[in-house]
Amino acid sequence: MSYPILSTVIFLPIVGAIFILFIKRTNESLIRWTALLLSLLTFGLSLPLFTSFDKTTAQMQFREVSNWIPAWGIKYSLGVDGISVLFVLLSTLLTILCVTVSWKSIKQRTKEFYAALLLIEGSMIGVFCSLDLFLFYIFWEAMLIPMYLLIGVWGGPNRIYAAIKFFLFTLVGSVLMLIGIIVLYLNTGKSFDVMQMMTTNYPYHLQLILFWAFFAAFAVKVPMFPVHTWLPDAHTEAPTAGSVILAGILIKMGAYGFLRFAMPILPEATKAMSPVMMVLSVIAIIYGAVICLGQTDLKRLIAYSSVSHMGFVTLGIFALNIQGLQGGILQMINHGVVTGGLFLAVGMIYDRTHTRKIADYGGTASVLPIYAAFFMVFTLASIGLPATNGFIGEFLIILGGFTASKLMGILSATGIIIGAGYMLWLYQRVFFMEVNPKLQGFKDIDMREILTLVPLVILVFWIGVYPNTFLSFMDVSVQNLISRVNSAGQPQVAQQILEVIK
């Protein structure tokens, strides 16, 4: 490694986006090719993270540290460990697919579209790599601007409402976290250094307050029940690429926030609050799944299924054991792959039919057979059929859930059953039964679209058959995290006892 990989991967898309803004507006094909090239290049440059990652240590790797704002003790500090490295790779991969899927469907303001997409990519990777809370917050918030435009400018009919709702929900959560960050900073001897915070013990009552401050931001992003209401609107109205980014990566940032900040920095509060979090997760699992049964809009159904699936993720995380955590993290990747794939697929059929109503479909399998096959793979993975990635993730999570609480385990398992119900029913209504006359004459997906879906199908089976490739990345880091959470509080309890004795 002779170059700062993380900085390159963050800033190449951002600089590229600015470059795209200077290309002549009418030269649309140049804009598209530049965007594709940039996203491919970013992906290529991020590959060393995969190949030369040291799986035997929980330490941060690929560190880059330099002073940024000395007056406030802020550092430009980057690094990845086993928890974050996979998300960086997922981001760089999904961005390529977002570029190719939008190739023909984005017809107006192409330039701004691809610029916004690349800006989002850069800031998302920044979120996953930041080890300074201030830097993290900058990326976390900066991403709102292009995402707001992406939904609001290129979205569906109700896009303005969805964009504003998305922005305001996220902003309110984020600013409350900002207060938490500042309080944390003042209690860490004026430092935003995450590594330092992870080894500091904060008083319990402070941890509780801070936990809820972070919760405000992360729970909105995940989204956890009851602050999930922005998600169906945003996912449904966003253009295909926007939905993929939202479902694939953006909502992972919330769960990642819990893993990276809330848990190791506030271990006691995490432990104390884990029953609450698990209850909220189970509500999300069942509630999201039940709502899915009643949906008449394709994208909205998949959006609500995200609520349910992310419920599994947070359940796994807050089960606070190795299986649950590993399952949670893997399920985040899985959900990115599968739901990303489903949104891509829905986007492809929408480009042809321009309708999202389930009732407008029927018999699609006989009109677009290749397409139907791809959709089947993602549907089954979403249900969690063995040999697909969904099975591994959900299995681990439910295992972890059972270990933590039998009731939670049983309840969350019902979510899988309902999940199979709504996905298979959806597949039946859209792809089987009589051919809807409106669908006659549409061409099956072309090479570009197949190539967009293939990488995700490969991942579905790769993780499903040999998950160890990915699980081995996080093993040590997850163990480290668990022991941090479980060992927390002991010195303080001892201190309190000593005080009582005195």
């Binding site: 704002i69 000395p70 007056a71 303001r109 601007i145 303005i160 964009a163 003042l186």
Partner: protein, 460 residues
């Protein structure tokens, strides 16, 4: 009695400004084309900037203090002055308000602000305040043939005079109590005697008067009408300069004279700040005219800046000063865009601007997000700094209130963005570009990003 000749070094910047203002008045009689006067004004501002660092010291027996505090404010005033002249040049020609007095009054008003920032005595403070206020009254009404401009000037004058009289009343109470108007001596006196009812009354009167100047609620009523009626360039000038000057004297008086009774005035200011943020942000939501919206937004921003004063620490004071500097760039930037557009005063004029003028829309977007306080723009750094000082001083609850109002503000700033990017255009937007306006927009947008990414240039 032998009165020694005072040391003039600390007042050099003010002298340059005042003399130049008078010279411009004379040139105005000779010159037919007024644009050289604008150039002259900028040169004067440049010269003043040059003399500010070397003006350290006290003079006139401590009535005039030039310290790092006043210097920072003078820097803000110069930024404000230069940017205002740049955005005015072509605009006042278009508005048929190109009088030589325009530049002269800008200089006089700025001189008044500088005197305010440097005042070591309540009488000097009052003098500076009146010089500033009288000049801005005229500037607000300089579009003589426009009835709205006239209304703005009268309204501003009446309410301004009212607030000045309250200030005088407050000062006279203080004088009765302490037998002095010297800020340092008042501080020394109050340290011994502590708080009392007349003192509280005079503090309230002074706080009310300053609240008028910074347009803090419930004394903000004049602002929307005046901002709407005044020529847009003057609105930009007023939303930054007099406000910053108001904060400068709040810092001087409350941190200087009333330092020992901090507990008393903090309560008053907290009430004003919360009300200001609430009124500014909530009423701004329903505006249809962008100048009125920015007026309410400027009320809200005064509320945020007040939080820095409330913190009651050096860090809080610094945060307030930094905030005003940042506010100068982003707010004048936004007004510059309003001026750039031929028809840009109604919010619906911005519909579809991104289609017809993508670059203009993109610039406006930057200013709107900066005013909201979204990183990586300067607005975020300003707010972050304020909140940090506030929480450090133990007012975390107040910071929570502030961020909630700040989130509310996102809605009306975003509405401009929404109109520009997500609505269909009604008619092709016409713009009036000019080199000076371009320069002003260039400087402001550059600073918004530069401060946002490298805040070290304004903090510390």
């Amino acid at each position: 009695m032998n009165i020694p000749f005072p040391n003039l070094a600390p007042v050099t910047p003010e002298i340059i400004m005042a003399v130049a203002a008078s010279i411009i008045l004379i040139f105005d009689l000779i010159l037919k084309d007024k644009s050289p006067l604008a150039l002259l004004t900028i040169c004067v501002a440049g010269a003043t900037l040059y003399f500010i660092p070397s003006s350290l010291g006290e003079t006139f027996g401590g009535m005039f203090i030039s310290d790092s505090y006043s210097m920072y404010f003078k820097l803000i005033f110069m930024v404000n002055l230069i940017l205002t002249v740049l955005i005015s040049l072509k605009y006042i020609q278009r508005q048929k308000a190109e009088y030589g007095e325009y530049y002269s009054l800008l200089l006089f008003a700025t001189t008044g602000m500088m005197i305010m920032a440097s005042s070591g005595d309540l009488i000097v403070l009052y003098l500076g305040l009146e010089l500033m206020a009288l000049s801005t009254y005229i500037l607000a009404g300089i579009k003589r043939h426009d009835i709205k401009s006239n209304e703005a000037a009268i309204k501003y004058f009446l309410l301004g005079a009212f607030s000045s009289s309250l200030l005088l009343y407050g000062i006279s109470l203080i004088y009765g109590l302490t037998t002095t108007t010297d800020i340092a001596k008042i501080a020394a006196y109050l340290k011994q005697t502590g708080t009392s009812t007349p003192l509280l009354m005079s503090m309230i009167l002074i706080a009310v008067s300053f609240s008028f100047k910074i347009a803090a609620a419930p004394f903000h009523m004049w602002a929307p009408d005046v901002y709407e009626g005044a020529p847009t360039s003057i609105t930009a000038f007023m939303s930054v300069g007099p406000k910053a000057a108001g904060f400068a004297v709040i810092g001087r008086v409350f941190y200087g004279a009333f330092q020992s009774v901090q507990a008393d005035w903090t309560g008053i200011l907290i009430g004003i700040a919360i009300l200001t943020m609430a009124v500014g942000n909530i009423i701004a939501l329903s505006q249809t005219n962008i100048k009125r919206m920015l007026a309410y937004s400027s009320i809200a921003h005064a509320g945020y800046a007040l939080l820095g004063v409330i913190a009651g620490t050096q860090a809080g004071l610094h945060a307030m000063m930094t905030y005003l500097m940042i506010y100068a760039f982003m707010n004048i930037g936004a007004f510059a865009i309003v001026i750039l557009l031929d028809k840009g005063e109604e919010i619906k004029d911005y519909n579809g601007l991104a289609k017809s003028r993508p670059a203009v829309a993109a610039l406006m977007l930057v200013f709107m997000f900066s005013l909201t306080g979204i990183p990586p723009t300067a607005g975020f750094i300003g707010k972050f700094n304020i909140f940090m000082a506030l929480i450090n001083a133990g007012y975390a609850w107040l910071a929570v209130i502030a961020v909630i109002f700040s989130s509310i503000s996102a809605y009306y700033y975003l509405r401009i963005v929404m109109n520009m990017y997500m609505k269909d255009m009604e008619e092709e937007a016409v713009i009036n570009p000019s080199p000076s306006l371009g320069l002003a927009i260039g400087i402001t947008v550059l600073m918004v990003f530069a401060i946002g990414i490298m805040p070290s240039i304004v903090i510390g």
